[in-house]
C-alpha cells in the first residue's frame, strides 16, 4: 500500500496537482508512513523526474514551477513531523531568496526558487521589496547556507550592496554565502560588492548554488 501511495505522491508532483499534494502528504502521515519516507520516496521522486525531464527538454518551466509548488504544499504538512524525527530532511542545501528593497519584480526569483527546489534545495522565498534589515533578520532566524538577492533595475541593484554591508554589520557575513542576480547584475558587480556568486539565468543559478554549498 505504501508503494501505491508513494507513486500517487510522485505523480501529483509530475501533474502539478498542488491542491492534492498536501492532502496526499496528510494521508501518508495518517497511514503511519514516516515523514522522511513520504518525502524521499514520494514527492522527491516526482520532482527529481521533473528536473530530469526539464534537463532533457521534455518538460518546461510551467511543469517545473508547479512541481515546486507541490513540494511546498507537501512540506507545509510534513514539516512538524520532519523536525520531530531523528533524520530530519536530507537536502542539497538551504536558501533564503528575496527581491531587494524597492524592487517589486519577482518572476526571475520565482523561477530560480523553483529550479533550486527541483534540485533538492530547501528554499524560503521571503518575497518582494525586502529591506537589508529584514534579510539580516531572516538569515539570523533561518540560518540558510545561501542568501539569494534579486534586483531587476540598476537603481534597486544598489540594495544588494547595502544588504551585504548589513550582514557584515550584524556579524553574519561569514555565516552565509550570498548570490546575486537580475537583469542589470554582472559578475563584475558581484565581485565589486563582495558577493560569493552570480548567475546570469536560473539554470546557471542551480549550478552556482550547488558549488557554493559543497565548497563550504
Amino acid at each position: 500500500m505504501s508503494e501505491e501511495m508513494y507513486h500517487q505522491m510522485a505523480q501529483a508532483v509530475l501533474d502539478g496537482e498542488i491542491d492534492i499534494a498536501g492532502e496526499l502528504a496528510q494521508q501518508g502521515l495518517d497511514a503511519g508512513l514516516p515523514a522522511s519516507d513520504i518525502l524521499s520516496e514520494g514527492f522527491v521522486k516526482g520532482i527529481e523526474e521533473v528536473g530530469d525531464c526539464f534537463g532533457k527538454g521534455e518538460l518546461f518551466l510551467p511543469e517545473l514551477t508547479s512541481a515546486a509548488e507541490c513540494m511546498k504544499a507537501a512540506l507545509a504538512v510534513l514539516k512538524p513531523a520532519l523536525e520531530a524525527s531523528e533524520g530530519g530532511r536530507q537536502v542539497t542545501g538551504t536558501a533564503v531568496a528575496g527581491s531587494v528593497k524597492g524592487d517589486v519584480h519577482e518572476i526571475g526569483k520565482t523561477i530560480v526558487c523553483s529550479m533550486l527546489s527541483a534540485a533538492g534545495f530547501e528554499v524560503t522565498d521571503v518575497g518582494l521589496d525586502i529591506s537589508p534589515k529584514t534579510f539580516v533578520e531572516k538569515v539570523s532566524e533561518l540560518k540558510p547556507q545561501l542568501l539569494l538577492l534579486s534586483a531587476l533595475l540598476t537603481t534597486t541593484m544598489l540594495a544588494q550592496r547595502e544588504t551585504i554591508e548589513a550582514l557584515k554589520a550584524a556579524g553574519l557575513r561569514g555565516e552565509v554565502k550570498v548570490m546575486v542576480g537580475g537583469a542589470p547584475v554582472t559578475q563584475e558587480w558581484a565581485d565589486e560588492i563582495g558577493a560569493d556568486g552570480f548567475a546570469e539565468d536560473a539554470i546557471e543559478a542551480v549550478a552556482v548554488a550547488r558549488k557554493l554549498v559543497t565548497s563550504g
Binding site: 527538454g57 540598476t154 544598489l158 542589470p184
Partner: protein, 473 residues
C-alpha cells in the same frame, strides 16, 4: 486617421468585449497601489479600497476617457516645427529604445557595457537617420554617477539631437521637473519630452509609477504608460486575457492621471513579452506576444488614444540572420499595426543590448516599410488615364515626364544589394553584414556633432551637477 493596410485583429465589437473584460478586472480584482497619495485620490473619486488594493467602478474609467485628449504635439527643438510629431491615432513614427546595458562595439565587435560616449554617439547618429522620428537614450551608461544617470542621458540627447525625446527615468519625485528644466535650457518645454512610465507586472502601480504619473500630469508632460506583462509568467498565458490585464493597468493609471489634471496628455503604451519555457529567457520577439500586444493595441485604437508600440527589434545577440529577419519583420508588422510611436528600433537581445549597426539597419527597414505602406489617394486625380492613352498599349513609360517625376520619390536602399550576379561578384560578393559594417564605419567616421552651443552644454552640465548635490545633501 491612416488605416490603409492597418492590421486589425479585433474589430469594434471584439474591442468592446475586451474593454468590458478589463473593466471587470478592475472592479473585481483591482490594482495594487503602493502610494498613499495615489490611494487617497482613488478613494476620494469613489474607488473601493482594501489596504493597498484599489477596485475601480467603471464610471471612473468612463470619466477619464472623456477628459483624456486624443491629439497633441510632441515638439522638436529645431526652431521651425518641421520635426514636431502630431501625436494622435493615425500618423506612425519610429524611434529608438532605451537603457540597454550592453553595446556591440562597432570596431571590435565586443559585447561590452555601455558608456556615456555611446549615449552621445547614439544620439548624434539618430539625428542623422532619416526614419528615426523620436529619440530615447539607447544606452544606460555605466561610467556616470547612477543617481543622476537619467539627467546625464537627457543632457546628452539634448546636446546631440533636435528630435523629440522620450525619457525613461527610474526616479519619481523631482525627476520630471529637473528634466523639463534641462529641456527649457535648449529652447524646449514640457511638450518636447514624453515620459515613459511603467506599471509593475501585473496589476501593480508601484511608488515610482504613481509619482511619475502625478508629476507628468501636473507639468503636462505627455506621459506614456507602458505595461510589461510576460505571457505565461507575470501575465496570463491566454493572449486575450493578457491583453485585458494590460488594458486594465493602463485604464487604472489613466484614471489617476486624469484625476490629477483632467486633459493632461496621455499616450497608451502596449507592452507584452513571453517567457521561453525552456531557456527561461523573456522574449520580445514571439508570435504569441505579438498577438497579445496587438490585441491590446486594438483596444487602445478603439478608444482613439494615441499609442506607443514596437518596431525594428530582435532577440538576437549578434548581427546574424535572426537579427535581420526579426528587425525587418517587426518593422513591417509594427507599421501595419498603426501604433503612433513605434519604439525600440535597434533593440537586440530583448533590450539588454543594442548596436550602432542595429540602429542603422532598423532605420533602413523602417524606410522600406514606410515606402511599401503609404496611404494613397484614389480620387479622380490619382488615375492619369491621359498618360495611358498617350503611351498606348506596349509603349514605354521610361522616358516620360511622369516617370521622371515619380521615381525620384521611390525608396532607395543603402544596405540591400540590387545589382545583378556578375556585378555583385565583381564587387567581392559582399553580404548585408559587410555593407552594414561599411555604412556604420562611414557614419561614425566623424565625431558626434553637437546641435547646441558650448554655453548651452555648459548650462546643462551645471544643472545636472546641482541636482546631484541636492541628492547627496
Amino acid at each position: 486617421m491612416i488605416t490603409a493596410g492597418r492590421q486589425i485583429m479585433w474589430d469594434e465589437e471584439a474591442c468592446s468585449r475586451g474593454h468590458s473584460a478589463a473593466l471587470e478586472i478592475l472592479e473585481r480584482v483591482g490594482v495594487e497601489v503602493r502610494h498613499g497619495t495615489g490611494i487617497a485620490m482613488f478613494e476620494k473619486a469613489g474607488a473601493r479600497i482594501e489596504n493597498t488594493r484599489v477596485r475601480l467602478p467603471r464610471e471612473l474609467i468612463e470619466e477619464a476617457l472623456v477628459t483624456a485628449p486624443r491629439a497633441f504635439s510632441l515638439r522638436a527643438r529645431d526652431g521651425d516645427g518641421a520635426l514636431d510629431l502630431d501625436v494622435r491615432d493615425g500618423p506612425v513614427y519610429f524611434g529608438t529604445g532605451s537603457d540597454c546595458l550592453y553595446v556591440l562595439d562597432p570596431v571590435t565587435g565586443e559585447r561590452r557595457r555601455a558608456l556615456l560616449a555611446d549615449v552621445e554617439a547614439g544620439a548624434a547618429l539618430t539625428e542623422r537617420l532619416p526614419n528615426i522620428d523620436f529619440v530615447m537614450s539607447v544606452w544606460l551608461p555605466q561610467d556616470v554617477p547612477q543617481e543622476v544617470v537619467d539627467l546625464v542621458q537627457l543632457a546628452a540627447m539634448l546636446t546631440y539631437t533636435r528630435k523629440p525625446i522620450v525619457v525613461s527615468s527610474p526616479r519619481g519625485g523631482d525627476a520630471m521637473r529637473e528634466q523639463v528644466e534641462l529641456a527649457e535650457v535648449c529652447g524646449g518645454a514640457a511638450d518636447s519630452l514624453a515620459c515613459l512610465t511603467m506599471t509593475a507586472p501585473s496589476l501593480i502601480l508601484d511608488e515610482v509609477c504613481v509619482e511619475k504619473t502625478l508629476s507628468c500630469a501636473e507639468l503636462k508632460v505627455p506621459m506614456v504608460l507602458e505595461t510589461g506583462n510576460s505571457l505565461g509568467s507575470t501575465g496570463p498565458a491566454s493572449p486575450q486575457t493578457c491583453a485585458a490585464v494590460g488594458h486594465a493597468e493602463v485604464m487604472a493609471t489613466l484614471v489617476l492621471h486624469q484625476l490629477a489634471n483632467p486633459g493632461a496628455p496621455f499616450i497608451y503604451g502596449t507592452g507584452m513579452s513571453q517567457l521561453d519555457m525552456a531557456t527561461t529567457v523573456d522574449l520580445f520577439f514571439g508570435p504569441e506576444s505579438w498577438l497579445a500586444g496587438h490585441l491590446q493595441l486594438n483596444l487602445a485604437q478603439s478608444l482613439s488614444l494615441p499609442t506607443f508600440d514596437y518596431a525594428g527589434y530582435s532577440d538576437a545577440k549578434s548581427h546574424d540572420e535572426q537579427c535581420v529577419a526579426e528587425i525587418m519583420s517587426s518593422s513591417i508588422v509594427g507599421l501595419s499595426s498603426g501604433g503612433t510611436l513605434l519604439h525600440d528600433v535597434g533593440y537586440l537581445e530583448g533590450g539588454l543590448l543594442s548596436s550602432y549597426e542595429a540602429l542603422i539597419m532598423g532605420d533602413e527597414f523602417a524606410g522600406f516599410a514606410r515606402a511599401g505602406m503609404q496611404e494613397l489617394s484614389s480620387d479622380d486625380a490619382a488615375f492619369d488615364i491621359d498618360e495611358v492613352d498617350q503611351v498606348g498599349p506596349g509603349g514605354s513609360y521610361l522616358p516620360r515626364q511622369s516617370t521622371r517625376k515619380g521615381y525620384r520619390g521611390w525608396w532607395r536602399s543603402t544596405l540591400l544589394d540590387r545589382s545583378n550576379a556578375s556585378q555583385w561578384r565583381a564587387s567581392g560578393s559582399p553580404t548585408l553584414g559587410d555593407r552594414l559594417h561599411t555604412r556604420t564605419t562611414d557614419l561614425l567616421a566623424t565625431a558626434p556633432e553637437p546641435v547646441v552651443g558650448s554655453d548651452t552644454a555648459s548650462q546643462l552640465a551645471t544643472l545636472v551637477e546641482q541636482a546631484r548635490e541636492r541628492m547627496s545633501s
